[in-house]
């Protein structure tokens, strides 16, 4: 029954989207840390 492939596809898609989003959060957090470091140096 090839329909099982669709089941795995759906589950994988779910976690793919979640990890993409969490990845963007981590990237944004990193960028913020960098900005904070520049702030200190700018004085």
């Amino acid at each position: 029954m090839n329909s099982i492939k669709f089941l795995y596809a759906a589950y994988i898609a779910t976690w793919l989207i979640h990890s993409l989003y969490i990845g963007s959060l981590v990237r944004r957090y990193g960028r913020l840390r960098q900005q904070m470091k520049d702030l200190g140096r700018g004085k």
């Binding site: 029954m1 669709f6 898609a13 779910t14 979640h18 944004r28």
Partner: protein, 305 residues
């Protein structure tokens, strides 16, 4: 407070694994669709979580707009109390009772209205002006993520079972698509208008979006009665064991959503703090500082050193 996050993260991970195990092995196989129906354990809880997040966004936006003036804030509170009371009493009235769709009991409708009213006042207590806006951004963004999952897993489920990728007549999936479009336009508006009053404009758009939802539902509902088409997931009642697994995975998804929202919330607060410190620094940088009394101290926030 800092330690709570990792502990919760571990607990949520365990809950997710447990739900995954339940969904794939414990829940009974569906007579008609075989094992592929198990997509429901990810598709439906994601939708419920998304709708809850959008609803919190709506409450936060209404409060943000209402708090502009004390008079409107009081009026908003009274309206919510009135809705709560009417919602609590109405389902028990006989005429209203037989209107309720088969699966819904009056008591469950009454409790949901109670929760809605409670949620309004809880949010009002814990989130004040700026935080309301940060909460609105957070719930909108995370809500769109969960909504995207619903729109991806829906067609993946429809293809093997009904041979079609998209069923326009399916009221739930189409309404979810419209909701997704509304909140993506909400996020685009926030990104495009970097001016100070973005927050007010976004709150106004959130209210418009929420007003739109029932109208979307009815326009598609009538469209469906005229051209009956397959409904993804099939209506009607479910085998109690399946319902049990569904609720478990919803709990797991809610905890996961809570953690994502929490970190996005902290990220947003930090972003605004850093930008304010940056703006302050750029203002005081130029030579114009040589004025007679540079009474202006540089109140750089603690985060900058």
């Amino acid at each position: 407070m800092k330690r709570a996050f990792p502990i919760l993260a571990v607990l949520t991970a365990l809950l997710l694994v447990y739900a995954f195990y339940q969904a794939l092995w414990v829940a009974p196989t569906d007579a008609l669709q075989g094992d592929v129906y198990r997509i429901i354990y990810y598709h439906v809880p994601s939708a419920w979580t998304a709708f809850l997040l959008f609803f919190i966004n709506f409450i936060a936006s209404v409060q943000y707009l209402a708090n502009a003036r004390p008079s409107t804030a009081r009026a908003a509170r009274w309206i919510v109390i009135a809705i709560g009371i009417i919602g609590f009493v109405a389902p028990f009235i006989p005429q209203v009772k037989q209107q309720l769709p088969t699966g819904m009991y009056p008591s469950s409708v009454a409790t949901t209205f109670l929760i809605i009213t409670g949620l309004y006042f809880v949010i009002g207590k814990y989130f004040v002006d700026q935080d309301l806006d940060v909460l609105a951004v957070t719930t909108a963004e995370v809500g769109v993520v969960f909504c995207s999952i619903v729109l991806v897993t829906g067609p993946i489920w429809a293809r093997p079972v009904w041979g079609i990728w998209w069923a326009p007549g399916d009221i739930r999936l189409t309404s979810t698509l419209v909701l997704w479009l509304i909140y993506v336009s909400y996020l685009v508006l926030r990104r495009f208008s970097d001016s100070a009053q973005t927050q007010k404009l976004a709150a106004v758009l959130a209210v418009f979006g929420a007003l739109d939802v029932p109208l979307v539902y009815f326009s598609i509902w009538f469209f469906r009665t005229q051209h009956p088409q397959p409904v993804i997931g099939g209506g009607g009642s479910m085998d109690p064991r399946m319902l049990h697994v569904l609720l478990i995975s919803w709990m797991a998804f809610l905890c996961f959503a809570f953690l994502v929202c929490w970190s996005r919330y902290r990220l947003e607060k930090l972003r605004r703090e850093v930008e304010e410190a940056e703006a302050l620094e750029s203002l005081l940088e130029p030579a114009g500082l040589a004025g007679p009394s540079s009474a202006v101290k540089t109140p750089l926030s603690r985060g900058s050193k």
